[in-house]
């Protein structure tokens, strides 16, 4: 993926915040010393090229009625693909990563209520006969990640 200096300046500046005003692209473009039209076309291209996952408001899922619960399993290697298939098939499972540890499958159960995520974990336990370790968050120490590019 080729990013030029303009792309980098846009990415570095717009990760932390975008104005709330009538012409926000114009305000942001002024601060970057470029035209509004150029900023918009660069953003459009970076979205199309998947340099950006999205551009816009980032909401706190917990605060809008959703819940995420992290969970992990120790899956025998011989069963790994089958278990991944079962876990991924649950609509409440949002992410699933293989990690290098005895607990080698880590996933997030998401739902409007904790019961929805819990129901998915129970279905996984029933289908795989393996225990799911739940790691619900007790406290979040939140600060936004900013990548320097």
């Amino acid at each position: 993926m080729m990013l030029d200096e303009t792309d980098r300046r846009i990415l570095n500046a717009l990760q932390s915040g975008f104005p709330l005003c009538e012409r926000p692209y114009l305000a942001a473009a002024d601060a970057l010393n470029m035209s509004e039209r150029k900023l918009i076309s660069r953003l459009r291209r970076m979205l199309k090229d998947r340099v950006l996952t999205r551009f816009g408001p980032l909401y706190n899922a917990d605060r809008i009625g959703g819940i995420n619960v992290l969970a992990a399993m120790a899956v025998p290697e011989a069963d790994y693909e089958n278990v991944a298939f079962i876990v991924n098939a649950q609509p409440e499972i949002a992410h699933n990563y293989r990690r290098e540890h005895r607990l080698n499958m880590w996933f997030v159960g998401a739902g409007e209520t904790p019961e929805r995520a819990e129901a998915a974990f129970r279905r996984i336990e029933d289908a795989t006969s393996l225990p799911v370790c739940r790691f619900p968050k007790e406290r979040e120490y939140f600060v936004e990640l900013r990548l320097t590019v």
Binding site: M1, P24, M46, L47, R50, N96, R99, E138
Partner: protein, 154 residues
């Protein structure tokens, strides 16, 4: 905090992104049949209350070359975990930082901090920075690198 029905409509209208037009809040307002001022006011209020974290660009780590991610985990003295969690959560290379329940005996860790780097060596350097801060209150630590994405939505 209870969300107003209008906030809920606003979230639904904007959660996939902001329109790429010179007056994006006006475009949203038109869609919701409210005034642009109201859109700006509601978004500002949600930002104030923490429902809205920020408006901006969400970069794709992988495409930008941040291919390694390590979930660092720490067994931190309960009396100090909140103070130290807030400190490391503030570091630029930590994307998520949470206190979670221990699951003894296999899992003594109560503090999770996700670090991202171009490669594992960069993640290890970040981990060493975390260790320097946490060491006085830390009994055990580990890092779990992801080796494969099995599912990713949203």
């Amino acid at each position: 905090m209870k969300l107003e029905p209008l906030d809920r409509r606003l979230i639904i209208a904007t959660q996939s992104g902001l329109p790429l037009t010179p007056e994006p809040y006006r475009a949203i307002a038109r869609q919701l049949n409210i005034s642009p001022d109201e859109v700006v006011r509601r978004l500002a209020a949600m930002r104030e209350s923490g429902v809205l974290r920020r408006i901006g660009a969400v970069p794709n780590h992988y495409v930008l070359g941040y291919r390694a991610n390590g979930m660092t985990v720490w067994d931190i003295d309960d009396a100090r975990v909140d103070e130290l969690g807030a400190r490391i959560g503030g570091l630029a290379f930590v994307s998520h930082c949470y206190r979670r329940p221990r699951n003894p005996p296999d899992w003594p860790y109560n503090l999770f901090a996700m670090v991202h780097g171009h490669d594992r060596a960069e993640c290890e350097a970040y981990r060493a920075e975390l260790r320097a801060i946490l060491a006085p209150a830390c009994r055990a630590e580990d890092v779990l690198y992801s080796s494969r994405i099995l599912k990713k939505t949203g």
